[in-house]
């Protein structure tokens, strides 16, 4: 009963969130006394596959089929079900990233394997198989017991920090049975926001709210983000007013981010906003109103006018980075 991890890639690179899942899966394998096998689909170079060993995979099943470079969730479900049967796997691990969210539930229903989506702990096997996850948009945790024989866990991105080891994985070619008819959803094109840090994978996020008054003032937010190597985000009214693109909207009805550092500028800290950012490890709040609710959720706060503070902060960051 081995552990299988879906190590998904994008444009030939294993995603960071997938490496987190591999590392997690390797620990689960260790806990349950088995070995971890990573499954990689599509054309991926050998150096990338070697990374998987460093994060604990003992074996890599690589299906180097070009049709699987950007496959739809239904096809991957079929392929993974074949890998599970081949490896006699009892546990399948995904990242709770966009592809994991699409595939894990389908595989769960196919294998009748209970799914914990967005795990934040390793399983506790003292009584049952209990995994902790966020519920109520990060305002609480639930301990969920997977009662079925086969189990699926998707790991919340940015929760477990990566530590590369010196392991190596044996790479085995894998030729799953896929027919052209399996590709029911056709990807017409994919558009990545290149040159910028993808928001949901960013380690630092700089976010602006209505306190910034208008889109013309975002230059200083971008400058700070640039100095910090951060992605930019915004509150909902900012996206709704068209000041910023929708994919930057974080909160209950937007994206959830969990960076190491979240810098909130001119955002009041409404509960729906906090729901999308309260998993951040460190929160800095810059707001001119000392009573802004965000300060209650912050680790560091500065009361004052963002238009004065942010440029100064950018300079200070640049100076520190220069040293």
């Amino acid at each position: 009963m081995s552990v299988i991890i879906f190590a998904d890639q994008f444009e030939g690179k294993i995603k960071k969130s997938a490496l987190e899942a591999v590392q997690y899966g390797a620990k689960v394998a260790q806990q349950t006394g088995t070995a971890a096998t990573a499954v990689v689909l599509g054309e991926v170079a050998a150096e990338e596959l070697a990374l998987l060993g460093q994060y604990g995979a003992a074996k890599v099943l690589h299906a180097a089929d070009a049709r699987l470079n950007e496959p739809e969730a239904g096809v991957v479900t079929k392929v993974l079900a074949e890998a599970v049967a081949k490896e006699n796997a009892g546990i399948v691990v995904f990242s709770h990233n966009f592809s994991g969210r699409a595939i894990a539930p389908q595989l769960s229903a196919r294998l009748k394997a209970g799914l914990v989506a967005g795990a934040i702990s390793l399983p506790d096997t003292a009584s049952g198989f209990v995994v902790k996850k966020n519920v109520f948009s990060g305002k609480a945790f639930a301990n969920v017991n997977i009662t079925s024989e086969k189990k699926i866990i998707s790991v919340l991105p940015n929760t477990f920090s990566l530590e590369a080891g010196s392991g190596t994985a044996a790479v085995e070619a894998f030729s799953p049975a896929v027919n052209d008819a399996d590709f029911r959803v056709k990807v017409v094109k994919s558009e990545t926001v290149s040159g910028e840090v993808p928001l949901t994978e960013a380690e630092i996020v700089v976010s602006g709210g209505r306190g910034l008054k208008g889109p013309e003032n975002w230059g200083m937010v971008e400058d700070l983000a640039h100095a910090l190597g951060a992605a930019t985000a915004c509150s909902r009214p900012v996206a709704d007013s068209g000041w910023r693109p929708h994919h930057e909207h974080v909160g209950q009805t937007g994206f959830t981010v969990r960076p190491n550092l979240y810098v909130a500028i001119g955002i009041s800290g409404a509960i729906q906003h906090l729901a999308g950012v309260n998993g951040s490890k460190v929160i800095v709040v810059i707001n001119k109103d000392p009573e802004a609710p965000f300060f209650k959720a912050a680790d560091y706060g500065i009361v004052g006018d963002a238009f004065e503070i942010v440029p100064k902060l950018t300079e200070a960051v640049k100076k520190y980075k220069g040293n």
Binding site: F10, S17, E72, A73, G74, H96, F98, P105, Q106, L107, S108, A109, K112, L115, A117, K132, N134, V135, F136, A140, F141, A142, N143, V144, I146, T147, S148, R184, V185, K186, V188, K189, S190, E191, T192, V193, P198, L199, E203, I204, H246, H249, Q252, T253, L261, I271, Q272, V284, F295, K296, A297, A298, D299, Y300, G301, I309, K312, A316, V317, Y320
Partner: protein, 246 residues
């Protein structure tokens, strides 16, 4: 065209989160319940837009006890045609998905819309499970859905970008922001909802694959450290030396 929208009941976004019964039950005391925002704002409204522009019958389904009826009535008031309540209470996604799939197979829908996730249990799983159980293709976390004949063109979120994809109906889609603009029910809708059919159906036999053992609240924050506005250098230093995040 027949569209099914999956509606779940969740606590209001501002509800105080507390637990009872030795931290095994969500405390409903004083909590207002709403339609899960993704289900209402995006899934339901997009279905209604398709009904208005292309002609469609919009069915609603919820798996839940009688206490979900006010929420289902609100969805009818927004413009749903007919609602089904599967009379069962469960927090297990597979059990809920099995109920929805059983109903969907019987009725035969061209489109099944769910929300991206519920804001209480945050499973984001039911859409994918329903797709698998009904044998339909699945597009998750879609921000756009256009229809031309039997072909749907969708946009969906991927890491660091978006993907445009095409699929022939029937299809299961989970919806997020971008699909539609939120609406509020008007008086006529609310009056009409009173007489629209809300059928209670008994659950089919299905397994549960998970069970919530207990809940926990996160530890309280240590408290905020305030830094004078004229000393941003101090903040940079703390972020480096104390918080170790830069």
């Amino acid at each position: 065209m027949k569209i099914l929208v999956c509606i779940s009941k969740t606590p209001d976004t501002t509800a105080k989160i507390a637990f009872t019964d030795n931290n095994t039950k969500f405390s409903e005391a004083g909590v207002q319940f709403i339609i899960n925002p993704y289900d209402e704002w995006y899934a339901l409204v997009r279905a209604l837009e398709l009904k208005e522009t292309q002609g469609a019958t919009v069915h609603l389904i919820t798996v839940g006890g009688a206490d979900t009826e006010p929420v289902i009535r609100k969805a009818l008031a927004l413009g749903g045609d007919e609602a089904f309540r599967v009379n069962a209470d469960s927090a297990d996604s597979f059990y809920i998905a099995s109920q929805i799939a059983a109903h969907a197979k019987q009725e035969g829908y061209d489109i099944i819309f769910t929300g991206k996730e519920t804001i209480d249990y945050n499973g984001s799983g039911i859409g994918g499970m329903v797709a698998e159980l009904t044998g339909l293709p699945y597009v998750s976390i879609a921000s756009k859905f256009d229809l031309s004949g039997q072909t749907a063109t969708l946009r969906r979120e991927i890491e660091g970008g978006e993907e445009v994809c095409e699929v022939s109906l029937p299809v299961v889609v989970s919806c997020q922001k971008g699909m539609a603009e939120a609406r509020i029910p008007n008086m006529r809708g609310i009056m009409a909802a009173r007489t629209k059919p809300l059928k209670v159906i008994e659950p089919v036999a299905a397994e549960s694959l998970t069970a919530i053992v207990s809940f926990e609240l996160p530890p309280a924050k240590a408290g905020v450290k305030m830094i004078p506005a004229d000393n941003v250098e101090e903040l940079v230093k703390l972020l480096h030396e104390e918080a170790k995040v830069i």
